[in-house]
Symmetry: C2
DNA sequence: AGGCGCATGTAAGCCGTTACATGATTCC
DNA sequence: GGAATCATGTAACGGCTTACATGCGCCT
């Protein structure tokens, strides 16, 4: 059955979450999806534009045309009161467990088929990626952690601080795991 | 452009990984995808059957018809030498970073829009899910951790032990994160 | 007699990636 | 003059979920 016009997709809620923080053009939303939202959700611009149209048809966002570059009119979107309400309801609603897709672990699960050197290099590769991600999280967290806004439950930076701290903990655990595996593969 | 016949999809390598451990029917593979592979990759049976056909066309798996229930012949699949080779090459190949899809964090990122009680209940919900997953990992790990096979680099259980230990570390970090968030939301 | 587990498949539709298409402004 | 950035869209295709479809054997 087709999706109800009143219940946006996960991407729709990601965009509402972005617009609840700051109004933006579709292009800006695509950029903001790369970082920092890209740490937990990603989308290409080719997905963003149609989704904005759907959200607008559902009355959850609205746009005004502004000055800008390009062959078509530049549209700046903002969440409507109905959009803010839909976002709040989604955040507070029951969360059913999601199907996992972890390609790194899927590979490691077949690591017994390759020799020790290949295995060690695979794990070392994964470790350096996790270290890079960890450093990015720590840098971003350092920018807001000491501000009063990051302590205010009703401020977007509070939520940013929570999610970044979670990223730091999870990447530290991943690095610890890689170190343990390298030890096991000695 | 269409995918090369010689390079299976991620699901294809998941199935090869399963068949490298033990020959199975499509039905059994669907079951084994739920647990334990389901901890890091999932697939429905409607995806498994066509993928097995593709793998067989590529010469990576082979089937024999066996006695069984049902209106159609029951097929038992096994990885061919070419399939084992393809699996090994995939495991050892460069791993490019994957796009992340973490619905839980996406929600938490908009948690500033709801009141404190709704926020606390959301985090408490997430915590109990992580605790349940952690316990499942620990139970499964306990079954193999003391066996000699789990220390043998070339044995499937060695890889199972690595991935399960990673699951334990990551779920512990997730529970720790939830506890920290509940403290922040006091 | 009915329900569950075994067993294999197809169809419709959504979600997401990659590529195609266009054009203005700004910086080197 | 050329490349990067801003800016919006469409098309083709693959992956994944949900639902449809069939039927045997076993257990209660």
């Amino acid at each position: 059955m087709p999706r109800q016009a009143s219940t946006p997709s996960n991407l729709g809620f990601a965009l509402l979450g972005l617009l609840a923080r700051r109004r933006s053009t579709g292009y800006e939303l695509s950029r903001r999806m790369e970082r920092p939202v890209g740490y937990f959700w990603t989308a290409q611009h080719s997905q963003v534009y149609p989704e904005l149209t759907r959200l607008e048809r559902a009355g959850l966002v609205r746009h005004v045309v502004v000055e800008g570059a390009g062959p078509r009119p530049t549209k700046r979107y903002a969440a409507t009161p109905a959009g803010m309400r839909a976002l709040r309801e989604w955040v507070a609603s029951e969360m059913e467990p999601q199907p996992v897709r972890d390609l790194e672990t899927l590979r490691l699960w077949s690591i017994w088929t390759v020799d020790r050197e290949a295995a060690r290099s695979l794990v070392a590769q994964a470790r350096s990626r996790h270290v890079g991600t960890l450093e990015a999280y720590e840098r971003e967290l350092a920018e807001i952690v000491d501000t009063p806004q990051a302590r205010d439950h009703a401020h977007p930076w509070f939520a940013s601080r929570l999610t970044l701290h979670g990223g730091v903990l999870s990447r530290r655990a991943a690095v610890e795991w890689c170190d343990w595996m390298l030890h096991e593969l000695e």
